[in-house]
């Protein structure tokens, strides 16, 4: 009871402190803060739009890459792999989640960025260069690399949650499907449709993680506040700008702008987490007989 109250206190306390500390910029810019695309601390002009854009696009990119891979791993582990193989692979996947993000970032700079610059980017430019996403300056540092790093970081999370959800689907369902003459793949489809909303919840949890990731992204995204369709170009995320500038913001107004950025990130993450909770709730109460996870 008391513990729960403390959690509530912390969440609301953080929220109110952030609102309080960002009052100077809230008063100055109002809602324009969210829609201005200029970020010029030297001129005291602050707009969050390029950062919101960078945060959301890099996270969505990560989901596009990560979701099919995570689902594939989870389905393989639960539905197909013999236990002897499934256990060590599951263990390895969860090990990935334990790698510190600064290590992902270093790997990103020294291995992934040159790979994107010399191979992946060149390939995309050659065959898909007619799309606006794959035009622009290809330096290896930018949105695409950040998206791939994020995808690697959220894959273990999505995989292990989806695996638990698939395991929660009662075996009776599989047996029934097989008894009716369904093939292995058709059986998997039935299992998946039962677990659908739970899988959605797992994806939203992964998204939440991607939105807030700081260190690895800062190291590979290029930290340049701009809005462009190109995935090759550098971008900036809210978490990155906070990490890079919070420690030495001496000016009160600048500090206020950074705190307000934190507030924006807090709200975005809060909304995403609330969505995840709702979805997980719907799977536990679902009419299709799935056991609570």
């Amino acid at each position: 009871m008391i513990a729960a109250a403390i959690i509530l206190l912390i969440v609301f306390g953080m929220f109110f402190m952030m609102v309080w500390n960002s009052m100077p910029t809230i008063k100055e810019f109002g809602l324009n803060f969210l829609f201005m695309d200029e970020w010029a601390p030297a001129q005291n002009r602050f707009g969050a739009l390029p950062f919101i854009y960078g945060t959301i696009v890099s996270s969505i990119l990560a989901l596009i890459i990560s979701v099919p891979i995570s689902l594939g791993i989870a389905i393989f582990l639960v539905e197909q792999a013999p236990k002897k193989i499934a256990t060590p692979i599951a263990f390895m996947v969860e090990l990935l989640a334990a790698i510190p993000s600064v290590v992902y970032g270093l790997w990103g700079i020294f291995v992934l960025a040159p790979f994107v610059r010399d191979y992946l980017g060149v390939f995309l430019e050659k065959y898909f260069g007619w799309l606006p996403f794959f035009q622009g300056r290809l330096t290896g540092i930018g949105m695409l690399t950040a998206g791939i790093i994020l995808a690697l970081m959220i894959t273990p999370i999505i995989t292990s949650v989806v695996r638990d959800i698939l395991e929660a689907v009662p075996n009776v369902q599989r047996e029934a499907a097989l008894a009716l003459g369904a093939t292995k793949w058709e059986t998997t489809q039935i299992v998946l449709s039962n677990a659908a909303s739970g899988i959605a919840g797992a994806v939203v949890l992964g998204l939440g993680r991607a939105l807030g990731e700081t260190m690895a992204v800062t190291m590979v995204i290029g930290n340049s506040p701009q809005i462009t369709a190109s995935l090759f170009e550098p971008a900036y995320t809210i978490a990155s700008v906070l990490a890079a500038n919070f420690a030495d913001a001496t000016d009160e107004f600048y500090l206020s702008a950074l705190v307000e950025m934190g507030l924006v990130l807090f709200l975005v993450t809060f909304i995403v987490n609330a969505l995840a909770k709702l979805l997980v709730l719907s799977v536990t109460r679902g009419p299709k007989g799935a056991r609570p996870v």
């Binding site: 030297a42 330096t139 540092i141 930018g142 190291m219 290029g222 930290n223 500038n245 001496t250």
Partner: protein, 363 residues
Amino acid sequence: MSNKKYLIFLFIVSIAVLGLACSGEPVGQGNSATTGGNINLSGSGSTFVRPMMDKWTSEFGRLNPNIRIDYSSTGSGAGIKAIQSQTSDFGATDAAMTDEELKQGANEIVHIPVVLGAVVMTYNLAGVNQPLRLTPEVISDIYLGKIKKWNDERIGKENPGVQLPDTNIVPVFRADGSGTSDIFTDYLSKTVPEWKEKIGRTKNPQLPQGVGMGGKGNEGVMGQVKQTPNAVGYVELTFAIANNLPTVLIKNSSGNYVEPNIETVSNAAAAMAERMPDDLRVEITNAEGANAYPISGIVYVLAYKNQQNAAKGKALADFLWWVTHDGTQYVRDLHYAPLPSEVVKKVEAKITSLSADGKPLRQ
């Protein structure tokens, strides 16, 4: 299954708690040691001076085993904030505090120059073997996105005989607020009117949209230049040398192309020494002198003139004295430049002015 998971969770939590308990121990020891005659000083700030500070604190610690100094390189702005809020015993910055910032201090803060450094332009260009030469106007136009290609005729004009590639320039800047940026933008503001108008002197330069990319810290800029072909960036000299990257010769106010090294940086400071005001706050960018490197800077230690704790204050004054005298023997090895002797005299006066409870800490 869920039972097992619960056990694993408990296990992890207990390890975390153990870890916290262990890491708490040295802190406890440190506190008790202070009362037993040992002194702990904490400093924070400039990343520019971090390699130098690390050397100094370890050597000084060896000579004075009862004094332990911890320096964390958090950035010049953070160093200023730490001294204002008294969370550190001293700060370090490569951009002198502004009058506005000084007012936010709890008390009178003094600037004590400790060493000189150079901000250098470094680049990653395959096949270019001789050092590039640039003028401030060209540097400004690269960072404003007006010169886009390496084989631009304005770069070619400065570098006759150099085969420059037909590739896009990737300018790298500092994404975090930094004294290095302050020195760099101060220099360009003094020399290029357009830069002064569009960007100005700032710790957080904001380039036009779509120009360049930012790295966090000297280390971050260095990493991006090193990893990105056709990139150019500005870092402290030590970082370029440690990474085997070339440095640009820059045209100074006398019209000579000057290589950044210990002598040319000292020349810049010597030219400015006479004009140093009493509070020692001065920039040495764009200094006159035929062989003065124009993007040079002074690293300051920030401290309260009236120290609250006499023992700590004495240790700090001794440390600063040692740093600007015997400690200078380590400066050259790390590619910083020692203070000119005229400046050292002024620094001596500043250090002896430090006091606690109205009593001077050093005679």
